[in-house]
């Protein structure tokens, strides 16, 4: 059983943060909220999302599992105007999701969850450095790096107590440094890893500029990017594997 009402903004935020990595996903309809985990086909980027029941206007579920085509669902959510509510009801018999936005009714055919790529196990990483900063600074870092390169190094300077971004292009380089004063919080530790901007740019798209973002970093280790949405009742964690640094 699944019946829920949610604001268009909340739904869109949730869907957008998944669709940057995959086209289809499984949604766990738990009693206390939605859970989604997905990994891109190359097993490089992963997303782990939860949206608490409290983020909904109303929410009833008993632990089902559905598979959805994300772009289809995003299109439907896009039909709602700002502030409008979207109503969901799962028909267990037909395995279709009835979606209602005021007078608009949409019956969405679900995808067999078994046909969707297996959900990833979440690596347990012990990452020594933690950086808390504003979404807009993540955005600025990614944009700056993208001007010159297709890769970005993220690191923490243990001595200076600062977070830095390096991007080396064929001709031009970018270096951006945020000191403790620019950051919301910093736990310094040995951290320097290189990442593909192809992935980070996509993840960045889903990060609101006015939100607080937590980065966990290590030496040539994946980065963990955490942020909340829907007034903290939704949580997204991205994990991105590093590139091997040559020379």
């Amino acid at each position: 059983m699944f019946k829920a009402i949610v604001s268009a903004e909340t739904l869109t935020s949730a869907l957008d943060s998944i669709s940057v990595l995959v086209d289809e996903c499984k949604i766990h309809l738990e009693e206390d909220g939605l859970e989604i985990r997905a990994v891109d086909p190359a097993n490089v980027g992963m997303v782990d999302l939860s949206l608490d029941a409290a983020a909904f206007e109303s929410y009833e579920a008993d632990g089902g599992l559905i598979g959805v085509d994300l772009s289809r669902l995003e299109d439907i959510a896009g039909m709602a105007e700002s502030g409008q509510l979207i109503q969901f009801e799962l028909d267990e018999e037909t395995r279709k999701l009835h979606i209602q936005i005021d007078g608009l009714e949409y019956t969405l055919a679900l995808i067999d969850p078994d046909s969707i790529r297996q959900e990833p196990d979440i690596p347990e990483l012990d990452l020594p450095a933690e950086v808390v900063l504003e979404g807009k600074d993540v955005n600025r870092s990614v944009t700056a790096a993208d001007m010159v390169s297709d890769h970005i190094a993220l690191g923490v300077d243990d001595g200076d107590e600062s977070f830095y971004v390096d991007a080396e292009g064929d001709t031009d380089d970018v270096h951006l440094e945020l000191t403790e004063a620019d950051l919301i919080d910093l736990q310094a530790g040995p951290a320097h890893s290189l990442f593909s901007l192809d992935y980070l740019k996509d993840m960045n798209k889903a990060i609101p500029s006015n939100t607080e973002v937590t980065l966990h970093l290590g030496e040539e280790f994946p980065v963990k990017i955490y942020f909340g949405f829907a007034e903290g009742q939704g949580q997204v964690t991205y994990m991105l594997a590093p590139r091997i640094q040559s020379d």
């Binding site: 086909p41 190359a42 290189l194 192809d198 290590g218 280790f221």
Partner: protein
């Protein structure tokens, strides 16, 4: 089987030039393929899907370059890949020239936190970015490549090109240099290691100790090298003999060569004569609804295929309707669709092709040009394969399949192509005249006793056209125009097939309107592989039908021949480069 093993064997095969040795290598490869035999039997020919399957990867060169660039390391983009291609001339060599595996997967960090996987705490330079120096490359299997490419082919809709790049990147990222070479060639259908269909046929026979003949037959009816190889291994000759035609799985069409009435009568005593329709070849597969069908809609299962075994069912609703109306038993029929105007007179071939290519708004296209099917052969009727029956008997079967009632006159049967068997040249001339009168192309001459040989262009079917022959040539080059035509490609270089190679036979620049040039430029531009000044080299992809006055010997072109006064007649959208004419045919036409 590890993909690395496959790549290693492919390299060995590529380096070998003796046919028998190549067969021996392919034989050994098939013998050690284990559970992956069907995949390996296709991959070694550069195929991902069975030949009968219309599924395509739909990966353009640029998608492949993007994926290679992404896997190749920092700040390599698709343009760099193209530059290397211009230098090295072949995508496999380009892919092999990069060191992949720089992007780690999350899997490398599973299970172990803290230090270990990535040299944490050490300097950043203790990694080797190439070859097998990291834990990403060296563990790809043939099956994983196959499964990923199958997923990739299924991607559709908005964003599907990005998804394809993602999937392909994921594969390249796990490739060693040699694996990358053959992966790139596989995805772009450019395997070119000297393994043709005959090689695999012989290798299957040798590997699993079965005679060639049943292998050949099974391949003809199934067009599935994977299935045939597996059956040969598991069930031997008796298994192969049980592989029959299947409704829904196309077979290659039997082809005709040019011929004359005199020769035909001399050869066969009697000739079977039928109209040659100015249409496009189709193969109709029909299975009537199960009488106990719960839907009760009484509609059968219908598939229509083009001569390239491409599914064109949706584009040709008239043929589906024809099947539902006229057929009541499982059949496979061979025929043509012709375009007709409001009076029922045939329209030129180009009009039919417009319908073939149509994917959207079929109903609208149908209003503009409607088509009707005409059938001349019957390959399967009600449970019996008829490939080995003589032509005249197959034609009798066709008549009884199509006739609404027993007493119906042949002339009145819908969609039935008449056949005259005669030894009288005058009667043949009369049939020819009638065909031309009715607006068709002329006549076909067939050996009345001949069996149906799928995919063969043999002597048993001959076409006699009233005017000079035309040639279907592969376009391998072009030149950018001048002045008003500067943005258009023109002066197209034409080539014919010679085994696996293409040899030039001339250039065609006349007979093309500006409007047509624009269309051709759009069609050909994506296939540009190199440019030098205004000259452009094209990958073989597009086939032109060209007319000419005569064929002369010439040192100018690599075929040793030149077409005199070549003129452009149209694009053969229904043919791929494999369907283009051969040097052999060129020589035959010249000798006529």
């Amino acid at each position: 089987m590890e993909f690395a093993t496959f790549a290693d064997r492919a390299a060995t095969i590529e380096a070998e030039s003796a046919d028998l040795e190549i067969v021996a290598h392919v034989r050994d490869l098939l013998a050690e393929a284990g559970d992956d035999l069907p995949i390996v039997a296709r991959f070694v020919q550069g195929r991902v899907f069975p030949a009968w399957d219309s599924t395509t990867l739909d990966i353009g060169p640029n998608t492949c370059y993007d994926a290679i660039a992404r896997a190749a390391g920092t700040n390599v983009d698709a343009d760099d890949v193209e530059d290397r291609l211009a230098e090295r001339g072949e995508i496999g060599a380009v892919a092999a020239s990069y060191d992949f595996g720089g992007q780690q997967g999350l899997g490398a960090f599973m299970g172990g936190g803290g230090a270990g996987a990535g040299g944490a705490g050490g300097d950043n330079d203790d990694h080797n970015n190439g070859g097998t120096g990291n834990n990403n490359t060296g563990n790809l299997t043939v099956r994983e490549v196959n499964d990923t490419l199958t997923d990739l082919a299924a991607a559709e809709g908005s964003g599907s090109q990005d998804r394809k790049v993602d999937l392909l990147f994921g594969l390249f990222n796990r490739c060693s240099n040699d694996e990358a070479r053959y992966l790139a060639r596989l995805v772009l259908s450019e395997m070119r290691i000297g393994v043709g269909e005959g090689t695999v046929r012989d290798a299957i026979a040798e590997a699993f100790d079965v005679p060639q003949e049943p292998v050949e037959r099974a391949l003809q009816v199934s067009n599935d090298y994977g299935q045939v190889a597996e059956t040969a291994r598991e069930d031997g000759v008796s298994g192969l003999d049980e592989i029959d035609l299947e409704i829904g799985r196309p077979v290659q069409a039997m082809l005709a060569q040019a011929g004359t009435v005199t020769d035909a009568l001399e050869e066969w005593d009697e000739a079977a004569v039928e109209w040659k329709y100015d249409g496009a070849r189709i193969q109709l597969h029909y299975d009537p609804a199960d009488p106990g069908d719960p839907d009760g809609d009484n509609k059968g299962e219908t598939h229509v295929f083009s001569r390239n075994m491409e599914a064109v069912t949706d584009a040709l609703p008239e043929v589906v309707e024809f099947a539902n109306e006229h057929l009541d038993s499982p059949v496979i029929l061979d025929g043509e669709v012709v375009a007709i105007d409001d009076d029922g007179s045939p329209l030129p071939f180009q009009e039919v092709l417009k319908r073939f290519r149509r994917k959207h708004d079929v109903a609208k296209a149908r209003e503009d040009v409607s088509v009707r099917p005409v059938f001349f052969d019957c390959l399967h009727a009600d449970g019996d394969d008829l490939l080995d029956e003589p032509l005249v008997e197959r034609h009798d079967q066709l008549e009884s399949v199509l006739a609404a009632e027993r007493q119906q006159e042949p002339e009145e049967i819908d969609g039935f192509s008449l056949l005259w068997v005669t030894d009288d040249p005058d009667e043949i001339e009369a049939v020819d005249a009638d065909a031309l009168e009715a607006g068709h192309e002329g006549i076909m001459l067939k050996n009345p006793d001949s069996t149906y040989s799928p995919g063969r262009r043999g002597k048993n079917w001959q076409k006699r056209k009233p005017d000079v022959e035309t040639l279907d040539c592969v376009v391998t080059g072009a030149e950018w125009g001048e002045g008003r035509r500067a943005t258009f490609l023109g002066t197209f270089e034409l080539s014919v097939r010679d085994g696996d190679d293409l040899e030039t036979v001339g250039k065609v620049a006349t007979g093309i309107t500006d409007e047509k040039l624009e269309e051709l430029t759009e069609l050909l531009e994506p296939h540009i592989v190199a440019e030098d000044g205004t000259a452009v080299e094209l990958e073989p992809a597009v086939v032109f039908e060209v007319g000419y006055e005569e064929i002369q010997t010439s040192p100018t072109y690599s075929s040793g021949y030149a077409l005199r006064f070549p003129r452009f007649l149209g694009v053969r959208y229904d043919k791929d480069t494999e369907g283009a004419d051969t040097l052999e045919r060129l020589e035959m036409l010249r000798d006529e």
